[in-house]
């Protein structure tokens, strides 16, 4: 290092940055390429959702909760519903629990594939990114066939689910499992055996197991550091008690733990494979029965109005533990208060540790490595310029096209 090596200067990564999918600011004190200190400043996208919920009844809040995140939307509503059901002492039928687990696992697959693609894009591996997006389309189609929507499924309700698993949808899920067993290995090989990908991720953003415990890392971030934590294992909810999930940690596969970005990548990609097995068990073992505790909404609302108390719902989202706490008061229609703690809250705390002594080139990758919640997804229409057709697609036409495709996928 040169004589002037003690002079540092500050570089902002974000709030808006090509490598980030969500606004968050990280101020990096750098010495050349080396990061000396990192300060994370979140808060650019606060929407006051919890406050908005206080003017809505629990059924209305479901649709609000679904819009907390564009990726793990179902995770949020299941956590919220479990909190409400806990407060109102509502029993959920077994079949509904299985369908919830099914959608949760489908969501995990699409979230992890999306994340893996974006991580590759962050270090300039565009081909893997495109391959990931291509593979992800399949699970999106299955979600659409199952629920009618690609992102916000609108499938959960207090005391159960709103859509049954039809034989047709079950067949689509089975086909998808086969498809991924066949195609996903290519993606795994491409990324885990590529020398540059390995050079970019190995020993980058290391979070030791002790630090992961001390800073409350959750989900794949903690499992990437070798901790056997998984709520589906330690405190099973919905159908997971029947499925026998074990936490997936890198030492079981590679023999050792580095706690780096590569391990977090590996955990997520292998969890896709794990989710495929779980999906198979769910589709095979789903029992017959009702899908809701009470199909008539006025009755549900009356029961919720009569309920009094605080309910908790904690589930394992694609990013880690998602905690919802709800207070219902007797005689009040609206939610008294509602607290959401998304896993990114906990995981973001360990960012400064991961940044220590890394390089600027690693910064966006490290930020992405905990998979911070990404806000929304959009549909894209490809227009065909070669046959000289040019038309402006209005919002109404776009919606009609979406519905058309949904009808096609669902076979209605």
């Amino acid at each position: 290092m040169s004589a002037g090596s003690h002079k540092t200067y500050r570089i902002p990564i974000g709030p808006v940055h090509v490598g980030l999918k969500e606004p968050v600011t990280t101020w990096l004190d750098v010495d050349g390429e080396r990061i000396v200190k990192a300060t994370v400043r979140p808060g650019s996208i606060h929407r006051g959702i919890e406050w908005m919920a206080r003017e809505r009844n629990p059924i209305q809040v479901i649709y609000l909760a679904e819009r907390i995140c564009g990726i793990c939307s179902f995770t949020h509503i299941v956590a919220f519903l479990r909190a409400v059901e806990d407060a109102a002492k509502i029993e959920v039928p077994i079949r509904a629990q299985y369908i919830r687990s099914l959608v949760l696992e489908l969501e995990r697959i699409h979230s992890h594939i999306l994340w893996a693609g974006v991580a590759c894009y962050t270090f300039g591996y565009d081909s893997a990114f495109n391959l990931g997006m291509l593979l992800r389309e399949k699970v999106m189609d299955v979600l659409e066939a199952l629920t009618g929507n690609r992102v916000n499924y609108g499938v959960g309700t207090v005391g159960g689910v709103r859509r049954d698993l039809t034989p047709k949808a079950a067949k689509a899920v089975r086909e998808m499992i086969e498809f991924y067993r066949r195609e996903f290995q290519a993606f795994l090989d491409v990324v885990t055996e590529d020398p540059i990908a390995k050079a970019r991720m190995r020993n980058v953003g290391v979070l030791s197991a002790e630090d992961a415990v001390r800073y409350c890392a959750l989900g794949p971030t903690a499992r990437g550091s070798g901790l056997r934590v998984d709520l589906r294992y330690s405190s099973p909810y919905e159908a997971y008690g029947d499925l026998g999930v074990t936490p997936l940690v890198p030492q079981d596969y590679n023999g050792e733990v580095f706690g780096d970005v590569y391990d977090r990548f590996f955990v997520r990609v292998m969890e896709v494979v794990q989710s495929l097995d779980l999906l198979e068990k769910i589709v095979d073992g789903i029992p017959e029965g009702p899908i809701t505790w009470e199909p008539k909404l006025p009755k549900v609302l009356a029961a919720l109005k009569a309920a009094d108390g605080i309910g908790w719902g904690i589930i394992e989202g694609p990013r880690g533990d998602d905690t919802h706490i709800v207070k219902l008061t007797r005689g009040e229609e609206n939610v008294t208060w509602w607290k959401v703690r998304a896993p990114t809250y906990s995981n973001a705390v360990s960012w400064p540790l991961m940044f220590k002594d890394q390089e600027i080139a690693d910064a966006p990758l490290i930020i992405n490595s905990i998979d911070p919640c990404i806000s929304c997804m959009e549909r894209v229409l490809v227009s065909d310029g070669r046959i000289g057709r040019s038309e402006i697609v209005t919002k109404a036409q776009l919606i009609e096209k979406c519905r058309e495709k949904t009808r096609k996928v669902m076979g209605a």
Partner: protein, 330 residues
């Protein structure tokens, strides 16, 4: 005087043609890249549309930039790399300034355009551009090593094996392909030199895995972060031209064969056919040397790239040098 005028006229015409070809090849690069990723890709002429748009856009100079360096850098960068084409023989068409310069000059012209970009980056007054400029400098220092080894070894080989002409002149290599002069050891050495030279190309043209100075997901296009309008258009041209120029030099050094004489053409047709054949070879090198590589890999970090050029590529070039020297001396 008439000689000067002919050169001026033909040079201008040639450079216009080269500009168009380089932009077209940039578009082809993007289409091939997209197809390999199972995407549709942009129209082939998309880079041309981009340039036309950029040239009429507002040219913003940041308040903290050093205006004259900031505006001058793109001009120098694009001019320097355009000049390269005046020293490269294209098919049977001799280089327009063939007597005025050789491979060393070409290497310097490449370096000049890179240095101009670095200066522009430093003058931008943006931390991202600053980091990009630093990275570009480090990268230059890294790839110059194998590049220098390749060029000097080839010249030494040409000199010792008795290829007629100036050992450093491109015309010498074009007149007599080096492969014909080497024994089996020399062939191996030439292969090693060719591979190490091709390894330098992605860094020269700033493409993945060596787009470290422009890494958009890390430092937001780094070097050219603050550029817009006309200046950005000139930088885009510089990248496209460097791509073609670098491949043209490799073609001249290693694949100088022509097709026109072989099928018995003469006169103007010979020039046209050989010129086209030359550019087809350039396209092949661009596709296989850069597009395929940038599709197949991710981006290096700067120290990894440095290490790659000093150790792996440098070692390969040295091995090539030793093999070729042994071949000549034996």
């Amino acid at each position: 005087m008439t000689d000067f005028l002919t050169k001026l006229m033909s040079g201008t015409a040639l450079l216009f043609l080269v500009l168009l070809l380089a932009v077209l090849y940039d578009g082809l690069d993007r289409v091939v890249h997209a197809r390999m990723q199972r995407r549709l890709g942009p129209p082939v002429l998309q880079p041309l549309y981009d340039l036309m748009k950029l040239f009429v856009k507002e040219n913003i100079v940041p308040r903290r930039a050093v205006a004259w360096v900031f505006n001058g850098a793109p001009l120098i960068a694009v001019t320097a790399v355009l000049m390269v084409f005046l020293y490269v023989p294209m098919g049977s068409l001799p280089a327009i300034l063939s007597t005025g310069g050789d491979v060393i000059l070409i290497v310097y012209l490449f370096a000049l355009s890179a240095v101009a970009m670095v200066a522009g980056g430093f003058a931008s007054g943006s931390p991202y551009a600053n980091i990009g400029a630093q990275r570009e400098m480090v990268l230059m220092m890294s790839y110059e090593v194998p590049l220098a080894i390749v060029v000097t070894t080839l010249a030494y080989f040409a000199y010792r094996s008795g290829i007629p002409g100036e050992p450093f002149s491109l015309a010498t290599f074009v007149a007599m392909p080096v492969w014909g002069m080497a024994g089996w050891m020399g062939m191996l050495g030439l292969g090693a030199l060719f591979v190490s030279l091709m390894a330098v190309v992605p860094a020269e043209v700033g493409k993945v895995p060596m787009d470290i100075a422009e890494a958009k997901t890390e430092i937001l296009e780094g070097l050219i972060c603050e550029y817009s309008g006309r200046n950005l258009a000139m930088f885009k041209l510089t990248f496209a031209l460097r791509h073609s120029a670098m491949c043209a030099v490799v073609v001249s050094l290693f694949f100088p064969w022509n097709i026109g004489g072989f099928i018995g053409l003469s006169g103007a047709w010979l020039l046209v056919v050989d010129f086209l054949f030359f550019w087809i070879k350039v396209l092949f090198l661009q596709v296989f040397g850069v597009t395929v590589i940038r599709t197949a890999f991710g981006r290096f970090k700067i120290w990894q790239a440095s290490q790659f050029y000093w150790v792996q590529v440098g070692g390969l070039a040295l091995a090539g040098m030793i093999l070729l020297s042994l071949d000549v001396l034996a």
